[in-house]
């Protein structure tokens, strides 16, 4: 079995509830990411998406399970994993450029001042903010702040980029513009990205695969939906592809009708679905070997 770039195995998070019992937000989360993949995760509020992302970032600890990246267990935060938070998390006393310099300096402490500055400016230009270099975050709009935050994350060239609903606080127009920018940057850099979103169209535009989570408590990653659309993509033309309609319909159907009861495969890994080719979307046909295990399991249960 070939090792994936990132492997998440049996993750769960348990909180004590107020009555002295326990509340399992999510359990037995299993998935793997390949290098260069863009994966979005969608699920209703309260299913623990952010917690999963924070565990990957090393900012939070799971109750059980582990995360392995590059054959090394993830314990605590690290520069090889960059994070973009929903609320931007820029340091308000630093200018836009200095926020990026701060990160670049932390990433490459041995670099000269000029090299750090030049590198940082390049990434700020990439998000179209070279004119606002010397402005403080309070003098920038929400969209501009999030661009700085994205530039900061890309500038450190992490092996895995974690985006926690990066456009959640932006208005629809701004969101569209920055999505386009993110597409452009990603086509250039081919970063491995794991992103949380609530927006089905955003997920289709950006990702190679979309993880669908069932509702919490005891939430699971039930399905892994392939986004079979060619790169490079564009927000203006992507909906013309017939596959786009199928994928979109499949995702909406999941979120509206099936997210309460959906379950992953028997072995805990998400069901792999490709709505662009599968005709029977609501009942994916299991592969042969899986049918066998399923029957065995049924036989044991009976």
């Amino acid at each position: 079995m070939s090792k994936s770039f990132l492997e998440v195995d049996g993750l769960s998070k348990v909180y004590p509830d107020r009555q002295g019992g326990e509340l399992t937000v999510f359990e037995d989360i299993r998935f793997a990411l390949q290098k260069g993949e863009f994966v979005c995760i969608i699920g209703h509020s309260g299913c623990g998406k952010s917690t999963i992302l924070n565990v990957l970032a090393g900012l939070d600890e799971a109750s059980t399970g582990n995360v392995v990246m590059n054959s090394k267990e993830v314990k605590g935060p690290g520069l090889e994993r960059g994070v973009v938070f929903q609320n931007y998390s820029l340091l308000p006393w630093k200018t836009a450029l200095n926020n990026i310099i701060f990160a670049v300096k932390a990433r490459w402490p041995s670099w000269s001042k000029e090299k750090v500055r030049e590198h940082s400016e390049r990434y700020l230009k990439m998000v179209g903010l070279d004119h606002a270099m010397d402005r403080k975050p309070s003098q920038l709009s929400g969209g501009m702040r999030q661009r700085v935050s994205i530039a900061r994350a890309f500038a450190t060239q992490p092996e895995l980029l974690l985006l926690d609903e990066p456009f959640g606080a932006l208005d629809a127009l701004t969101r569209g513009v920055i999505q386009d920018e993110l597409v452009k940057i990603w086509e250039e850099t081919r970063q491995t990205v794991f992103m949380i979103t609530h927006d089905v169209d955003e997920a289709i535009l950006l990702s190679d695969r979309i993880f669908l989570m069932s509702n919490g408590p005891n939430a699971r990653i039930a399905e892994s939906v392939k986004v079979n659309l060619p790169h490079p993509r564009s927000r203006a033309t992507i909906f013309q592809n017939p596959a786009h309609q199928k994928i979109r319909h499949y995702l909406v159907d999941f979120l509206v009708n099936r997210s309460g009861s959906a379950l992953p495969e028997q072995d805990g890994s998400p069901r792999v679905v490709d709505p662009s080719t599968d005709e029977l979307t609501s009942e994916p046909v299991p592969a042969e070997s899986e049918t066998k295990t399923e029957t065995t399991a049924r036989a044991v249960n009976a």
Binding site: L79, V83, F102
Partner: protein, 275 residues
């Protein structure tokens, strides 16, 4: 219509003139009359020494003092500038010593809930003690009146700085700390590059409160220890029954206190940030 500032300035000046005018009128010596009996004369009732001096007398003293603020004519006769300099020196020494302790300790308490819980009871007991209550103990242990005054300043200015530093550090937004964590900053670098600038406005607020309290306390402390300083000067002039000098030095205490506060206010502006 003139701008708000101009109108406010005009109003301020007219209040001043009004107040000085009323003060001047109220303190005019009564015209000497025949009615004063020999007995009253003997008792010194009509003597003008026993009344509050008018502002004109105070201005005269101020002019004389300020035209030569640094003269030194012996232990009990030094210029107002020298006296103020002694007080400012004591305040700054005690204040800087307090800073040297309060800022690191505040960081420690703010960053460690364990230290906060362990030290909080002592802080709560020590904080409400009037700084002058420490004076006898300080005099006994230190055996030096000047150092004791500085110690009193130290003890009174440490609390606001300590508590504000701890509060500011403990309440740095977790997002910013997470930024430091995801960039693998070590604890020392995190403290310097993220927590310090984030907590600086709160810390400076504590420092501003402290300097205000220190300046209040130094006057009382110097009245007790004597020798030099603006507090001693006020008390000495009272003993001389020179009320014009007392009033003048009261005003000078206000002016210097305001300057100290202004300086800290400027520093506060420097570290402020908008979210």
């Amino acid at each position: 219509m003139a701008s708000l500032n101009v109108r406010a300035a005009l109003l301020s000046v007219s209040f001043l003139i009004l107040a000085l005018g009323m003060w001047e009128m109220a303190t005019q010596p009564p015209a000497a009359t025949e009615a004063t009996s020999e007995y009253e004369l003997l008792m010194g009732v009509s003597g003008s020494e026993s009344r509050v001096p008018p502002p004109s007398a105070v201005i005269k003293v101020a002019w004389a003092e300020l035209s030569n603020p640094f003269y030194d004519a012996g232990a009990n006769d030094k210029g107002i500038g020298i006296q103020l300099a002694y007080s400012v020196y004591r305040v700054l020494t005690g204040y800087l010593a307090a800073m040297a302790i309060a800022l690191p300790l505040g960081f420690l308490i703010g960053m460690s809930p364990l230290m906060y819980k362990a030290l909080n009871p002592y802080i709560q007991v020590l904080r409400p003690i009037s700084p002058l209550a420490w004076m006898p103990l300080a005099l006994f242990i230190i055996q030096d009146s000047d150092a004791s005054a500085i110690f009193v300043i130290f003890i009174c200015s440490i609390w606001p700085m300590l508590l504000n530093t701890a509060f500011g550090v403990a309440n740095v937004r977790s997002d910013w700390v997470n930024v430091a964590r995801t960039h693998e900053l070590n604890p020392f670098k995190t403290a310097i590059t993220v927590i310090l600038p984030a907590a600086a406005p709160t810390i400076l607020t504590g420092m501003r409160i402290s300097i205000g309290i220190a300046w209040l306390v130094i006057v009382a402390a110097e009245m007790l220890v004597g020798g030099t300083g603006i507090g001693y000067y006020v008390w000495n002039e009272w003993n001389n029954l020179d009320l014009a000098s007392v009033i003048f030095s009261i005003l000078m205490i206000g002016v210097v206190g305001m300057l100290l506060d202004l300086a800290l206010g400027k520093a506060q502006k420097l570290v402020e940030y908008k979210e």
